[in-house]
């Protein structure tokens, strides 16, 4: 019999809430990570106890975690426990679980922490979105993550894995799981999976499919987006998102598939997901010093490429802000994996700690750029200006702007 929640855990939960409150009152950060750290120190298996007897959905992958988690939380309906602050390591998850008693739980989980979190929380569903290069100075190499996921899912037992069939690294990670719903969703970035994860020979990509000579190949799919409408396990759904871009269609397809495995009515969920217009400030319309700005988070090559493709080629000014702090990854080499050539014809204003790295990249891409040193001289525009920013730069722009 699983141990029931103990007095020690209750003390720990109380401590989590108290410290979070104190953290917020003293205005030190968002008040999620600090409290969670105290809780984990008091009871190492707190995460397991907090998750017991709840319907847990975990979301992981390089890009789209926050948006897909928000889609699942919104689509589920009613009160849903979720880590919508973006704190996706154990401390943040404990804080989220302690903050609400709702039985419905959806958590985004950092890729490197998925194994620990999945073993502790016994989820009903795990959604695996994609794997690509991101913050390589911290998480090392993408394939090591895929290996760790594979080892986890080979023996995790009774869980439904909702996985992207177009990402060979995700397929490699999930293929040994007992139950997998493979999803055929838009995945333009496969540069990190050119050699077969099983045999290292070249993968052959053709006609929306892929295969290796060792037999490793795209699996049979249960969910398709290639022809409208979206079909989730045989149910046709009229996807009409407020959120832009093919990558959000992929996120929505996987969110709705995940919801179908926790007993949520898909038509109702679809309406709620369609109506979602902004996630944690992303895609939201903001104002700042007379400018109207659309804030777009783009923090790695795959995410940046997707976001650049949503810009209209109308020659309007684009603002881009790049930092290379701890949370961003200290190494901005990835700027050379982003197809900034797509911005030719626009004038790009360079912001952030690493604006000279960005300007150099744009210079070599033959894109017109302005290095912003004096923010009071930015030209006014009657149009909405897109601001693409990586993680900490995005937080800064969110803090300095106000909703329109």
């Amino acid at each position: 019999m699983p141990r029931e929640t103990s007095f020690r855990d209750d003390v720990a939960k109380g401590a989590v809430r108290t410290v979070n409150l104190l953290s917020r009152l003293s205005a030190r950060g968002s008040g999620t990570v600090i409290g969670g750290r105290v809780g984990l120190t008091i009871a190492p298996d707190l995460l397991a106890n907090l998750a017991r007897h709840r319907d847990v959905v975990l979301v992981s992958g390089t890009n789209g975690k926050t948006t897909t988690t928000a889609m699942i939380a919104t689509g589920w309906g009613g009160t849903v426990t979720t880590n919508d602050t973006g704190s996706n390591m154990p401390e943040g998850l404990v804080a989220a679980l302690a903050s609400s008693k709702s039985r419905s739980v959806v958590l985004e989980v950092d890729e490197a922490w998925l194994s620990d979190v999945a073993r502790a929380t016994t989820p009903k569903v795990i959604a695996l979105l994609n794997l690509s290069r991101d913050q390589l100075d911290r998480a090392n190499e993408v394939r090591q993550i895929a290996e760790r996921w594979r080892a986890l899912l080979a023996d995790l037992g009774d869980v439904m894995v909702v996985a992207n069939a177009n990402d060979p690294l995700v397929v490699y990670a999930a293929e040994l799981a007992a139950n997998v719903a493979w999803c055929d969703v838009p995945t333009p970035w496969t540069t990190d999976a050119v050699s077969c994860p099983r045999c290292t020979k070249p993968l052959d990509f053709a006609n929306g499919s892929w295969a290796s000579e060792c037999g490793f190949a795209k699996p049979q799919v249960l969910v398709t987006t290639d022809a409208a409408p979206l079909v989730v396990r045989g149910t046709a759904l009229d996807l009409d998102l407020q959120l832009p871009g093919a990558f959000n269609e992929a996120n929505a397809a996987m969110a709705l598939t995940a919801l179908s495995y926790v007993g949520v009515d898909l038509q109702g969920a679809l309406e709620r997901v369609n109506a979602l217009s902004s996630v944690a400030g992303r895609f939201s319309l903001r104002k700042w010093r007379g400018h109207r700005l659309r804030l777009l988070l783009a923090k790695n090559p795959a995410g940046f490429s997707s976001m650049l493709l949503t810009l209209k080629s109308d020659g309007t000014d684009v603002w881009v802000a790049i930092n290379a702090r701890l949370a961003d990854g200290r190494d901005p080499s990835w700027l050379y994996d982003v197809p900034f050539e797509l911005l030719r014809g626009h004038r790009v204003f360079c912001f952030g700690d690493r604006r000279l790295d960005l300007a150099t990249r744009l210079d070599y891409a033959d894109v017109e750029y302005v290095v912003v040193t004096d923010e009071s001289t930015l030209p006014a525009s009657k149009d909405v200006t897109s601001v693409l920013a990586n993680y900490t730069a995005f937080q800064e722009w969110r803090a300095r702007t106000k909703p329109c």
């Binding site: 290069r133 390589l136 100075d137 911290r138 090392n140 190499e141 993408v142 394939r143 540069t191 050119v194 050699s195 994860p197 290292t200 020979k201 070249p202 200290r330 190494d331 080499s333 990835w334 700027l335 050379y336 994996d337 000279l356 790295d357 300007a359 150099t360 990249r361 210079d363 070599y364 891409a365 033959d366 750029y369 290095v371």
Partner: protein, 232 residues
């Protein structure tokens, strides 16, 4: 026009799908652009994993994960690459590219793997992964970049290092990379040539076989800023 001015600089980027983990393709872009702005025609050839290795003024090798690095070494060993380099074609390599040009390297734990043997350098698994800023003194100037690797590279006594490490680890905490007449390499991965325009011009000058006139770009400001930031 004199025939000299009609030189087309061919830059062969070797297996970018395998050896391009850290934006290393940027080095090809930088060389091509810096050549073009001086009036030279240039062409970047992406050598894919099924392609023959072409003749080129310079081969570029980037960084890669263990599996792709091993595949890259296997494919290059079966190609004309080593013979072309022994005939005098020029190579600039970073990170995993550096390792596979040597005699042996380690991937996937401590399994020793055969390199191309173009340079007498052996790479074993280091005690810890080296991740961070790298500064190397090359010909009296600071080469600035970022390293992320688990290797420890030892050069035979008669092999010249590219430079002395001032920050970070490079080969072994003392020296970084190597430089033979035809093969230059550093652990500074990714777009190291973007961050060090003076060094990009050294590489370009070697590839073109001539002295180059100065070229002022925004990269000069980036270089000055990085040197100042890392000196603090």
């Amino acid at each position: 026009m004199a025939s000299e001015d009609q030189t087309v600089l061919t830059i062969a980027l070797i297996y970018p799908e395998l050896l391009g983990t850290y934006g290393d393709g940027g080095n090809a872009l930088v060389l091509a652009e810096r050549a073009r702005r001086r009036g030279f025609e240039s062409e970047v050839i992406n050598v894919g994993i099924g392609d023959e290795v072409p003749d080129a003024a310079i081969y570029l090798l980037g960084g890669g994960e263990d599996g792709p690095q091993r595949l890259g070494a296997d494919l290059l060993r079966a190609s004309s690459f080593a013979a072309r380099v022994r005939d005098g074609n020029f190579v600039f390599a970073v990170c995993a590219g550096l390792q596979l040009l040597g005699t042996t390297f380690c991937v996937e734990g401590d399994d020793e793997y055969e390199g191309l043997g173009l340079v007498e350098a052996t790479t074993t698994r280091g005690e810890a992964r080296s991740v961070g800023e790298l500064v190397v003194r090359v010909d009296g100037r600071a080469l600035v970049g970022f390293e992320n690797h688990g290797g420890r590279t030892l050069l035979r006594d008669d092999v010249e290092a590219l430079g002395a490490v001032e920050l970070g680890r490079g080969n072994d905490g003392v020296a970084d990379g190597f430089r033979t007449p035809d093969v230059w390499a550093t652990y500074a991965h990714g777009p190291v040539l973007a961050m060090n325009p003076w060094f990009a011009d050294k590489v370009l000058g070697r590839a073109l076989g001539r002295e180059l006139a100065p070229l002022v770009t925004i990269a000069d400001q980036l270089y000055d800023e990085r040197v100042a930031a890392l000196a603090r």
